[in-house]
């Protein structure tokens, strides 16, 4: 250490003289630092990784999509789906000229209900509102739908029009019927009381955060690796590297290492924001969460490398990326549970790496369960990781 210091200070004296003639302050300051010793060179893997990180951080658009965009998404979805207590269900009451009074009566009875929000609409308006989803159920006042029925003197009973495939409509039918029966004087046979509470980790935002982390890792892993590799190939930079004594494994490993560094940043930004803005809490072990994120990140780096192993143009790799990511965007349960898809699709959906990552992250982050309970998902991720890396190394094209 002390020897180096002496050499460096000696360097200052000898280099000052020519530097003065040369001009700019900057040059002089640099030269005064002395020439670094030959063995001061960094390991190629370190240099390659640093180059990756520098290139990434100097691309403002990329930084936006990776860091700022997920926060905007958390913000927008967190606000849109915030828990404001159960909302009243919108229903319509048909008011035609012949049955105006009956309609007013029904409207009044429904207005007293805590569960439904009635509106008076003409039959045409009501049909339109039902079709477009503004209301989920239409009540037709008693007296039948046409004059002949009225003339026949049918018993006065209201009709409910709704689509039974919509869960809200069924709920509306129960609530409307209940309100009308009570209004007509029905008494409850059994009196029950409510006990309400909020399960921690059960809000939509709690469901959303792990999925968003997973989707973000997929996007940045695939694009970060795939785009950079194909870009270097089109610019003949890969060929140029291949002409040096650089170890090819170092080049590929530099992507893995730079991904790890970005992983920490990406995850920290989203979790910290959700923590402060929405009170999001990780219920399980942080260590296990870190393990899953690491594994997921490596898996997507591997998939990115495999996708980028051959294409010669940015357009080519973009198409492949979208082809690979599209099914996972749709099916892997980022924004809603993948359990909603039909059973015959489930084995396929479960085999997708993003599903495996999202599901296992949720068991740790939301349910507070151990990672061992999602052993199958971890195996799926591991398999994808190993297979894609091995295949990428085998088929990778340098020119």
């Amino acid at each position: 250490m002390s020897d180096e210091a002496i050499i460096k200070s000696a360097g200052v004296e000898t280099e000052e003289v020519p530097a003065k003639e040369k001009g700019p302050e900057k040059t002089r300051a640099r030269k005064a630092g002395g020439r670094p010793a030959d063995d001061g060179r960094l390991h190629p893997l370190v240099e390659l990784t640093m180059a990756r990180i520098r290139e990434f951080m100097r691309e403002p658009e990329v930084v936006f999509w990776v860091f700022a965009f997920p926060i905007l998404l958390v913000c927008a979805l967190g606000i849109a789906f915030r828990n404001t207590g159960p909302e009243k269900i919108p229903v319509a009451v048909e008011r035609s000229d012949t049955r105006g009074a009956q309609a007013e009566e029904l409207f009044k009875a429904l207005s007293n209900s805590a569960d439904v929000q009635p509106t008076l609409l003409s039959p045409a308006e009501a049909a339109q509102a039902l079709r477009s989803g503004k209301v989920v159920l239409v009540v037709r006042p008693p007296g039948g739908s046409d004059a002949s029925a009225a003339a026949a003197g049918l018993p006065a009973s209201p009709v409910y029009r709704y689509d039974p495939a919509r869960p809200e409509s069924k709920q509306a039918r129960l609530a409307v019927d209940d309100a009308l029966q009570r209004g007509a004087g029905r008494a409850d046979v059994v009196r029950a009381s409510d006990e309400t509470f909020t399960e921690p980790g059960a809000r939509y935002i709690d469901f959303l955060i792990p999925g968003l982390l997973g989707m973000n890792l997929m996007g940045s892993g695939l694009w970060g690796v795939g785009f950079a590799v194909v870009n270097a190939r089109t610019k003949k930079l890969l060929k140029r590297f291949a002409a040096t004594p650089m170890r090819r494994s170092h080049y590929l490993l530099s992507f893995v290492f730079s991904r790890l560094i970005f992983l920490v940043l990406e995850v920290a930004v989203v979790i910290a924001f959700a923590y402060f803005a929405f009170g999001f809490r990780v219920r399980g072990s942080w260590l296990e969460m870190a393990f899953l994120l690491l594994l997921g990140s490596m898996t997507f780096a591997g998939i990115g490398l495999l996708i980028a192993a051959r294409p010669k143009t940015i357009e080519g790799v973009s198409g492949l990326m979208n082809l690979v990511m599209m099914p996972m965007w749709l099916l892997s349960g980022t924004f809603f549970s993948s359990a909603r898809f039909p059973d015959f699709l489930q084995p396929f959906i479960k085999a997708l790496p993003l599903t495996a990552l999202n599901d296992s992250l949720r068991t740790v982050m939301n349910d507070g369960a151990s990672v061992t309970t999602s052993g199958l998902a971890v195996l799926v991720l591991l398999a994808w990781c190993v297979v894609t890396f091995a295949a990428a190394l085998k088929v990778f094209r340098w020119q």
Binding site: K26, R35, A37, L48, R58, E59, A243, Q399
Partner: protein, 334 residues
């Protein structure tokens, strides 16, 4: 030519010669040798049987038009392209025979059309390349060698064409190579940038380095190269020093002229001091040994035939004329 006879300055050259002698027992006087080199692509035979020997400390030029197979040949030398036939020996070692990475450690490469990462700075780029080599110069001396001191902190994307090319050269020199491959190093550069690059190449040669260079600029070949191989359609059609190649034309002046009306070619050939006649697009080109005798005779002949002269130029014979006389085409035509 001067540089070749200069004593070698640095110790490493003699170290590497020693290594050569003990490990491969090849004569150290040869930097590169290839025999019967063939590369067949689906649509074209890019390299069609090439034998070459590049001596240590020599600057060897491969001159030819675009598509002659120069780049393919050099990329086979560099171990980037697998030949379909023949053998290559670089610095006494064959590709795949020993430690290829150790061999790559000993030569530097500048490829045609490489675009270095635009977001990195000059210093960062050189440091990156330097890190690949187990030996080499320090970063500062490389930067000053290629005169990029003022641009050290500039992003690569902001450099001019000449500066980018000098940076590419810096990356090739980062490992302090014994041998340098330059593939059309000055294509697309303005004359001043070209001169600057030539200076750096000459410095490298003066310090004992060997160079293999491809170009389609005859000035570049004449100025930098000790010997030149003229390449066309995948073959070497002539190989000698630039001076000897020009001498082989048997003439030192070229007279080009055009006239309105027909000229008698037989009459042109019989003129005193004229060695050859070639019809060009617009007129004729004469290879001339004695311009003092040929020119008045030519003017007299045109007068006798009552033809009207439209243009007349003469110039010293160059490598371009050598190429034209060998192939009937201009270097930059193709």
């Amino acid at each position: 030519m001067l540089g070749r006879n200069r004593p070698r300055k640095r110790l490493r050259v003699s170290f590497s010669t020693m290594a050569n002698d003990t490990t491969t027992s090849r004569p150290s006087a040869v930097a590169l040798r290839c025999e019967g080199l063939v590369k067949q692509y689906p649509d074209v035979r890019a390299v069609d049987g090439i034998d070459l020997e590049v001596r240590s400390g020599e600057c060897f030029g491969i001159l030819g038009p675009n598509g002659a197979g120069k780049t393919t040949t050099v990329e086979i030398f560099e171990g980037l392209t697998e030949p379909d036939g023949g053998t290559v020996e670089v610095l006494g070692q064959r590709w795949g025979d020993g430690d290829d990475l150790a061999l790559r450690n000993r030569f530097g490469v500048q490829l045609q059309e490489t675009q270095l990462a635009e977001k990195l700075t000059v210093t960062e780029t050189i440091k990156l390349f330097r890190s690949f080599y187990t030996r080499g110069r320090d970063i500062e001396s490389i930067i000053s060698l290629v005169e990029l001191e003022e641009k050290r902190d500039s992003r690569v994307g902001k450099l001019s064409g000449g500066q980018k090319q000098r940076l590419a050269l810096a990356c090739a020199l980062a490992g302090d190579p014994e041998l340098l491959f330059l593939d059309e190093p000055t294509t697309g550069l303005d004359p001043q940038a070209r001169l600057k690059l030539w200076d750096i190449v000459e410095q490298f040669r003066a310090q004992g380095g060997s160079i293999v260079l491809t170009t389609h600029y005859m000035e570049e070949a004449s100025r930098l190269c000790d010997r030149v191989g003229v390449m066309d359609h995948g073959r070497v059609i002539a190989l000698d020093t630039p001076a000897k190649l020009i001498e082989s034309l048997g003439a030192d002046q070229i007279v080009e002229f055009s006239v309105r009306g027909e000229m008698d070619e037989q009459g042109l050939e019989n003129l005193p001091g004229v060695r050859g006649v070639r019809a060009t697009g617009a007129g004729y080109a004469l290879t001339v040994t004695d311009i003092g005798a040929a020119l008045p005779a030519l003017l007299a002949l045109i007068g006798r035939q009552r033809a009207e002269m439209l243009s007349l130029t003469t110039h010293q014979a160059t490598l371009e004329d050598v190429f034209v006389s060998l192939t009937g085409r201009m270097l930059r035509d193709v």
